[in-house]
Symmetry: C2
Subunit: 267 residues, 2 copies
């Protein structure tokens, strides 16, 4: 099975240009599961809710999803990409998965970062999507800091954590290696590069997109400076083996009766 | 507040020698919280259950706990150390905490590694101990691979993960940095060094004991070759601040209603 990432430098607000560039780069690929960055079609630093609403799109009938769906069918790809999703009067920071067979699924980000809280609604469901011959656990960027997100997806059968990102904190890539080790799954983090400045706010995105194995090995990675498409072959079955020693299946070894604090409501 | 580790190379079965050596090294210290390795008094590679039972001790009245208790009082120390604990007809792989004021608490390891399952009973409670002016979350070695352990302790108020270890896998130290970042707590991993051989089994312990800050910074660390005592000053209050951005308190941002899979019983 072939899995990979497309690391990009989107231009803020230039949706058609960003989608066309991604599509052109991907049009050389086929038969693979490929992850793109969070909000790859719009850029990240929205000035306010109305600017966001103008750039948000419906799923599955918005421009970006339609174009990516065409590409997925034409090239036999499974694509996971981030966009701002208009849904029932709100806007979500979503990861959309489209497949060659026409499936479209969206995960709405459950853990919003910083100013995202001002504009985006918070997702209320985690999502595992069977696609391209694997079970994909959808995560977006800041979800990485909550071990419960990756763990829940893995317990629900995810074999690959598909992780569109716009990482600005320095820890995400290392933490995703731990997510792989503790869950014995693959992870594909597709980060973006470049900077965005709006008013007094300036963000620099850290690149370093990576594909990590269930033992925490970095199988492929990108720099923090250039757009980059990497696809590699993996044996997806490795993610079904949760044994870390002759006597330890780390899923069977969990002690759910001790973990009550994790699901208690906060005061 | 001063926190630290004592990395040791125990000699298998030589309980008095191991305890005396540790006590001699610690007798220069005072007013600190210091973590020692898992099973620091016995060594690790028990041949069978009866050999383990011979080396196991009661808490608080066994030899090792009594000696460490005396040391804690004399030097105003809080000590966290691993031993094989005889308790109600079973033997546990335990972390004992003794304080200058005479408190003694034991945490019985909840996630047993490999052959430990053949001899040790599994602990049924996680434990946060107020001691030495901080709240100590007790973890032992392989507990590191279960994010639920550190998370549960942090949610119950732990400011320092005290982590006696006999690490043999290569991932534990990096994962503990992630445990700190995702929970915004300190961690002190006290690992051992050296090798043990019994019959066909040979284990080499990886050393690399470390003190990590709530932002994942390694504040002090040891090599994989020598016994080492390191104590540093930290501002424990940093562990109470769960903010990673102006809008993100990562504990308040958790979505417990999404994490049901984590407490579901396995089939």
């Amino acid at each position: 099975m072939r899995i990979g990432f497309l690391q990009l430098r989107p231009r803020f607000g230039a949706v058609k240009e960003n989608v066309r560039k991604a599509a052109a780069l991907l049009d050389k690929m086929s038969d693979a599961i490929i992850v793109l960055p969070e909000l790859f079609n719009t850029g990240y630093l929205f000035r306010n809710g109305s600017e966001l609403a103008e750039l948000a799109e419906r799923v599955p009938d918005g421009y970006t999803t339609v174009e990516m769906q065409k590409l997925a069918k034409r090239r036999k790809l499974t694509l996971v990409f981030g966009l701002a999703q208009k849904h029932k009067g709100a806007v979500y920071n979503s990861a959309v998965c489209v497949t060659a067979s026409g499936k479209v699924e969206a995960y709405q980000k459950a853990h919003l970062f910083d100013r995202e809280k001002l504009f985006f609604a918070r997702g209320k469901t985690l999502k595992v999507v069977p696609a391209g011959g694997a079970k994909l656990g959808l995560m977006i960027c800041f979800d990485w800091i909550f071990p419960e997100a990756a763990r829940s997806l893995a317990l629900q059968g995810a074999q690959i954590l598909c992780h569109p990102a716009n990482l600005v904190l320095p820890y995400g890539q290392e933490a995703m290696r731990t997510r792989c080790i503790e869950n014995r799954v693959f992870a594909v983090t597709a980060n973006r590069i470049g900077s965005e400045r709006r008013g007094t706010i300036c963000l620099t995105f850290t690149g370093g997109s990576q594909i990590v194995s269930p033992t925490g090995e970095v199988l492929a990675s990108a720099s923090d400076r250039s757009e980059s498409l990497r696809v590699i072959d993996v044996d997806i079955g490795v993610a079904n083996d949760k044994n870390v020693s002759p006597n330890n299946d780390i899923f069977a070894d969990r002690s759910p009766s001790l973990y009550g604090a994790l699901v208690r409501k906060r005061r």
